[in-house]
Amino acid sequence: MKRLICAFVFCAFMAACGGRDPDAAQYGSAPPLPEPQKQLFPTMKIAEPAAWGGRKPVVPAGYSITAIATDLAIPRQTLILPNGDILVAEGRGGNAPKLTPKDVIAARIKAKGTSPVKGGNRLTLLRDADGDGTYEVKSTFAEDLNAPYGLALIGSQLFVANQDALVRFEYQEGLTRPSSAPVKVTDLPSALNHHWTKALTASADGRFLYVGIGSNSNITERGMTAEVDRAMVWQIDAQTGAHKPYATGLRNPTALTIHPVTGQLWAVVNERDEIGPNLVPDYLTSVQEGGFYGWPYSYWGKNVDTRVKPEDPQKVASALQPDYALGSHVAALGVAFSQPSMGARFAEGVFVGEHGSWNRGDPSGYKVVFVTFQNGRPVGEPIDFVTGFQADGKTFGRPVGVTVDPRGALIVADDLSNTIWRVTPVEAVASPDAATAAPPQ
């Protein structure tokens, strides 16, 4: 009996520490989905932070990358203003109490893989007045915010999604510091805030704002009542602040964007953990008004998650399947549609910032990928665009928000090394026509 128990405990430890989780190539519209696993210990591989030193992230041939701002206080999302200035939202949110022994232990372990810097609770403005690629101005645009994350500009109104409220500043071109305090547009669901980030984007016509609100748990382990008004995207009237749920069952919609041609809302969503290294794929999807995307009852359409009680077969029957799988545990936190100024190969599609996994023996994510679009739909496999965030067992950076500067640059926020990276084509692409004519790489 004792030997049996020892063997059992040993196996459990091996399962927890054991190394290889082969890449299941879970990309696209029909990813392979293995059977869910029960694990005594969730498989964990926490990033081991290290300084960049002389290193830099790796970009494709024909592109260069530079750090345009360092020593920030947890940069998450960025916004390119009409004059080319960049606003950076900095902060760290969440106030969910630790309810179980597991909460206490897991929080300590996961904290090792993040920056020790205190969240800035501010917006920083970066300016490159002469257009030479060096952002010589780095100044505080607004402070005393509450874990700001999503940013959107509609005309002269700058919207900031704090972790507890949507607020608005008056903005005119060239402004470096608003003269008045922000005005609250509406409160956002903020009880517990297990997933605290409030993603934000504005509709093409500027009438509405969309806010991504994450679930209050991995898979309802804080109870069903904690999930009221969670795991959904709100549509908010930009002028009145009136809101309604636009789509539900999206576990953690961490970044939202609008397709530049169709005006369709797209999101990247982080799916559930602790049922295996290759479950559940995080995804990129168009967000259908009124759509239900499964959480918590099911994943990737109608695959029932038996961890959720009571069950709801009716909800499962109505669950929509997302458009495009990005791979399990990659933690997509940024999404941005490209422009022809990014070069022919990366002209049509989205960039996705992947913060990287914890619940996997072989880390996944920790890079920025590009998903090609054709006729307004994602196609093919993701292409690595910025990599090299991990090497030799160390982690130098973790990508969060990505934004495309129409002048031909991808801005990547890195919340581990507290850096803003800028990726540009080495030879500037003059116009969309020139981009199409450029030779393939």
Partner: protein, 135 residues
């Protein structure tokens, strides 16, 4: 033959395992019938308490095992029960750490076994024929 009861701290720790592991069982029963997550939170913490008490009790038992000669069969059985109880309790703590209903039904089965073993160990610990008896 002189009856010597077990050390009083040993006794307190041993007796404490019963309400703690019984609490785990009752809370798990409540969770499994209501799906109310707070019962599972209670069970998780009671289990930690039970493991602390049972672990220290096991330490006392091992010390007795080393000090007292001749080693009686009862003392050995008592110690083995405490050891198995602790290991199963620890495994149950890991089971309880899986989210929501993922812990069921293993959590409840283990809670039954561990609670019954705690009662058995306590029964043995306080019986007159326990290891504390010096011959």
């Amino acid at each position: 033959m002189v009856y010597r009861p077990i050390n009083s701290l040993h006794a307190v720790l041993l007796a404490g395992t019963v309400p703690l592991f019984l609490g785990v069982l009752l809370a798990d029963l409540a969770y499994s019938s209501t799906y109310e997550i707070q019962w599972k939170n209670f069970a998780s913490w009671l289990l930690v308490g039970g493991l602390v008490f049972a672990g220290l009790t096991l330490l006392f038992a091992v010390i007795d095992l080393v000090r007292i000669t001749p080693r009686t069969g009862r003392l050995i059985i008592y110690t083995v029960i405490l050891l198995v109880l602790w290991v199963l309790g620890f495994i149950n703590a890991l089971v309880h750490a899986s989210d929501a209903w993922a812990s069921m039904p293993s959590a409840l089965i283990l809670a039954w076994i561990v609670a019954l073993m705690a009662i058995a160990a306590t029964w043995m610990g306080f019986s007159r024929a326990h290891a504390g008896v010096r011959e």
